[in-house]
Amino acid sequence: MKILIVDDKASIRSAMKTILVRLGLSDITEAVDGEDAWYRINEAAKKGRGHVFDLIVSDMEMPGMTGLELLRAVRTRPEVQKTPFIMATTVTARQIILETMRLGVQAYIIKPFDADMVEFKLKQAGIL
């Protein structure tokens, strides 16, 4: 399972990666912000079905392209629009949540997260 972790903070990416690896998911790519992620998603899509990401875990607040914008981009591009997407953020602003939910996410994780929480959410999302 190919997973893309998107967050501008290395510490968060590192934490998430550690947790995912412990849950047995080791094919992990990291992106440092929305644009980086979108670029990688597109590159993967170009290579074909075998290379697309199976899951995107993204932060919301990032410089440049936010997680929400990334989500929107993903959901509007045919090749990747069904990609399971998990938002992991501290943002609890009503409008953001509504927007995110309208676009469709498999989980909305509130930071700080720990291994148990991530595991639960992945199970809830049907990933694990």
Partner: protein, 929 residues
């Protein structure tokens, strides 16, 4: 948890902390900028601040640092309001934010120690800014019980429904039950969604928020599915104050509450949830209660610090490695860099030692190897040097805040500008600059910038400016700290210094302004009457100078009273590996850092004395119009050189001291012809010499050496303690051939030789002025005399040979010619009226003089009826066409109209007259007795 796991989590915690520190560093300038711009603050700035605090809050949560997270949350709220423009950027707001920021900084610094966790004051300040209407939906009164069996429009068999009971204890749900379609429920459960029962109040949840039921239903549909709703039923029923929903969603309860804007007490899970109930409870329950020993900050730090032997990543002392692409950075241990640096230095030396071997065994392919080795070694050395370089802003950035706080404290208005923020300086140099620069800034604020009202009086802007400009030049870092304040009064300094007995009385009126200002650098000097708690007493500029000089740099002050002061710091870029020119004096060799060298001159034998002048007591050399002092390295260092008498082989001590010894060229030639050994390195003293022109700040001076060699990259080792008081040396180094030689310190040499740059400049300027004045010819010395009554004439003094007083009785008349006797000769006298339209010379005037012009026979003189004065004037002489030929022009001096004679024309006239007279005389003589 295994110890491995614990360690990696500790490392993670450290990483989070490091990131929080970075965030804090980036936050302060933003807040300060917001304060400055106020209403005009750009959205980007606010967003940036918001995101940063958001990050900090998040990071704090990860390391379970509740207080930091809490404070971050409060600050975030304020920024959110600013973002939404429901709050304006006012000084109060920024004050509260800065206060919070300071506390955050303190909290982070205190991690691992007994902490200043209490942030009540800051919290109060922040909440004062906000109106207390955020967060939380208050739980309300109980609702009357009603049965909730749904009368649904879809007629389905009874077993198609499932009864759900709310799990929570919220009073609103007491006794409630809900019927939902099994199929839909199962569907939701299969998708592992949460199933909540929610109570929506018409009044407080809808009307008060200007929402209608449709809106909230829509929202619910956006975030999940509605499995049950008794909205239709409850509408219009007076006893019902709200309606129930059962919804399935992936959102956790807090999020659901947030989205629907309904209090958490009005929502609860129902008794049917998906299979893994345990996990459910774990996943959903409040995180604050959970105990995560590994990520709890204070404990973690203590344990990791106490048990760790040599952990791979040190905590606080981390370096940021920056590369060309912004944002690509790496954290590296400082010790590792130092180690790498030392090795790089040794590599350079090893290569230097290897080189001669390779060169002597040079074949085609060897040279290629050597070149490659050279290139790689130099590259490594440069790269490692780069690693230690830090942008100046790392030190200077904090001054914005310092200046703001200090100025406020003493009620002055000061702003801080930094130019050249990304100029890079070696890390250790930057660290050592901190104290001196801070002190300089304190001085600016304390003594430099005036109080606002005083500034206005002087037509200056109310807010003073302190500017730091950093730039590279000539292999050195220049840092200029300037202010537009009151400047320094040299007289004031002088009097203070004199009071303190730092200046002897006989020097008082011999000092230039610059010398007076430099008195500031004397130890124990201060001009502040009061001991301000900012600048302190006696910690003065002498300490600053010592600090700078310990970096092998130097300091200069420029100031204009009333306008401002500029302190110029010049520091070498690199401390360790320095490309240097190897020179020879006598039998010894020395290294001169290349950065100080401007150029190298060659003075031919015998020409030395003609090119070297003496000015203001120093020997100087003139180069392309610029004049600078020149010293001989041998003399300075007391190197005795020996001249070998070529014929006898006897060695004599060379005694010549001054460079421009009074030897003639021919003697030099004679001596050199005597020498037969061409390869003799001990050059003859009157032979040519090389002058290394050195730069020191804005000054130049020349150093005479006998010979120079290559430029080599040398690793400068510090002087051993036994000789480190010798200011002329910067250190020692090892040459490729294994010799140990001294590295010269240019500043030290200048000081040791007591080079008086100022005096030389002043003297030179004076001479130039005089020359200019002469060349332009505007300043003339004129001698003004009368002839007839009230008529004035002038002649340039330099065209006058002499003046003699005349007694009219001594005039011998022969016809119309007048003669007097002068030194046994007869002198013919003329008066002005014989050449020009003028009145007859008044011979009855008191003092009659004879003016003897130059370039005319000494037997001719002009009678004047009086010498008025000798005047110096640069007034323009108006050339008049109405003037007779011999008059250059007319000048008005003190109310007199003076006809200035054109000396050449005048001479012509006299010559003509003489010829005529000769003729006449001859004829006269014939007839005379």
């Amino acid at each position: 948890m295994s110890s491995e796991e614990r360690d990696s989590l500790d490392a993670m915690a450290l990483e989070f902390i490091a990131e929080i520190k970075d965030d804090l560093a980036g936050l302060e300038p933003s807040l300060l900028a917001m304060e400055q711009k106020g209403e005009r603050t750009e959205d980007d700035l606010i967003n940036h601040a918001f995101r940063t605090i958001h990050s900090i809050k998040g990071g704090a949560g990860f390391i379970n640092f509740k207080e930091l997270a809490g404070l971050g949350h409060d600050m975030e709220n304020v920024l959110m309001r600013l973002r939404e423009k429901t709050l304006a950027v006012t000084p109060d707001v920024v004050d509260a934010l800065l206060m919070g920021f300071d506390k955050m900084k303190l909290m982070v610094e205190q991690i691992g120690k007994e902490g200043a966790w209490d942030y009540e004051k800051e919290k109060a300040a922040l909440q004062n800014i906000l109106n207390p209407d955020q967060n939380g939906f208050e739980p309300l009164e109980t609702v009357s019980r009603i049965p909730s069996r749904q009368e649904d429009s879809e007629k389905l068999p009874a077993d198609a429904y499932q009864v759900l009971k709310p799990l929570g204890a919220g009073s609103v749900f007491q006794g409630q039950e809900f019927l939902v379609e099994k199929k839909r429920l199962d569907h939701a459960l299969a998708a592992q969604k949460f199933i909540y029962a929610v109570y929506v109040r018409f009044g407080t949840d809808l009307k008060a928020k200007s929402k209608d039921e449709g809106a909230i239903i829509d929202d619910m549909k956006s975030i999940g599915d509605i499995l049950f709703s008794d909205l239709e039923e409850s509408r219009g029923k007076k006893e019902r104050d709200g309606f129930f929903c059962v919804i399935s969603t992936i959102l956790d309860l807090p999020l659901l509450s947030q989205v629907l804007e309904i209090g958490k007490t009005q929502m609860t899970l129902v008794d049917r949830q998906f299979a893994d109930y345990e996990t459910l409870m774990k996943g959903v329950s409040s995180r604050a209660v959970k105990d995560k020993p590994a990520l709890k900050a204070p404990d973690t730090m203590e344990s990791s610090l106490s048990t760790a032997d040599e952990p791979p990543v040190q905590g606080p002392a981390e370096t940021l490695l920056s590369s060309a692409s912004a944002g690509q950075s790496l954290r590296i241990n400082v010790d590792l860099i130092s180690r790498l640096m030392n090795r790089a230095g040794e590599l350079v030396l090893a290569r230097n030692q290897l080189r001669p071997f390779l060169m002597s065994h040079a074949k085609e392919d060897n040279l290629g190897i050597l070149q490659n080795l050279d290139m790689v070694t130099t590259d490594i050395q440069e790269a490692v040097m780069q690693m230690r370089m830090q942008p100046v802003i790392d030190l200077m950035g904090k001054y914005k805040r310092v200046v703001r706080d200090m100025a406020r404290r003493i009620s002055k208005k000061v702003e801080f500008i930094l130019e050249g923020a990304d100029v890079e300086v070696d890390r250790t140099v930057l660290e050592k600059l901190a104290n001196p620069v801070t002190h300089l800034i304190r001085n600016c604020i304390d003594h430099g910038i005036e109080f606002p009202d005083e500034r206005l009086k002087r037509s200056k802007p109310e807010t003073g400016t302190i500017r730091i400009k950093a730039f590279h030049q000539g292999g050195q870092v220049h840092i200029r700290v300037s202010d537009d304040g009151a400047g320094i009064d040299p007289q004031l300094i002088l009097s203070k210094a004199f009071e303190k007995g730092l200046v002897p009385e006989d020097r008082l009126d011999k000092m230039t302004d610059k010398e007076k200002i430099d008195l500031i650098f004397l130890p124990g000097f201060t001009t502040s009457e009061e001991i301000t708690d900012i600048s302190g007493r006696g910690v003065g500029m002498d300490v600053v100078r010592t600090n700078i000089e310990s970096l092998r740099g130097h300091i200069e002050i420029d100031t204009v009273k009333g306008e401002g002061t500029q302190v110029h710091l010049i520091i070498p870029l690199t401390l360790a590996i320095v490309p240097s020119l190897i020179v020879g004096a006598g039998e010894s060799r020395f290294a001169i850092p290349q950065g100080n060298i401007k150029e190298i001159l060659y003075l031919e034998k015998g020409t030395v004395q003609s090119q070297v002048e003496n000015l203001a007591g120093s020997e100087v050399l003139r180069l392309r119009g610029r004049i600078f002092p020149i010293i001989r390295l041998r003399t300075l260092l007391g190197i005795t050189t020996y001249i070998e008498e070529p014929l006898t082989g006897k060695k004599e001590e060379e005694k010549r001291k001054a460079i421009a010894d009074r030897r003639q060229k021919d003697k030099a030639d004679k001596e050199s012809k005597k020498r037969t050994r061409e390869k003799d390195r001990r050059k003859h003293p009157w032979d040519s010499t090389y002058v290394i022109v050195l730069k020191l700040g804005g000054n130049l001076f020349g150093l005479c050496v006998d010979v120079f060699y290559d430029i080599e990259e040398v690793v400068v080792e510090p002087l051993s303690e036994y000789i480190n008081q010798l200011k002329c040396f910067a250190g020692t180094t090892l040459l490729g051939n294994g010799d140990v030689i001294m590295v010269l310190d240019v500043q030290g040499i200048a000081t040791l030789s007591s080079l008086k740059f100022d005096s030389i400049q002043t003297e030179e300027a004076r001479r130039n002025e005089a020359k200019e004045a002469q060349a332009k010819g505007e300043k003339r010395n004129l001698i003004v005399f009368t002839s007839g009554k009230n008529e004035y004439f002038a002649l340039e003094l330099k065209r006058v040979s002499r003046l003699e007083p005349l007694n009219p009785k001594d005039i011998h008349y022969t016809g119309r010619l007048k003669h007097i006797e002068h030194k046994g000769h007869a002198v013919l006298l003329f008066s002005m009226d014989e050449f020009l339209p003028a009145n007859e010379c008044d011979l009855t005037a008191g003092e009659i003089f004879v003016v003897f012009p130059k370039q005319i026979s000494s037997r001719v003189g002009i009678i004047t009826s009086g010498i008025i004065d000798t005047i110096e004037t640069d007034k323009l002489i108006e050339k008049d066409d109405t003037c007779p030929g011999a008059v250059l022009g007319k000048l008005f001096v003190d109310g007199m109209m003076v006809q200035v004679l054109d000396p050449d024309q005048f001479s012509n006239l006299i010559e003509q007259k003489l010829r005529k007279t000769k003729g006449a005389g001859l004829s006269r003589e014939n007839t005379d007795r």
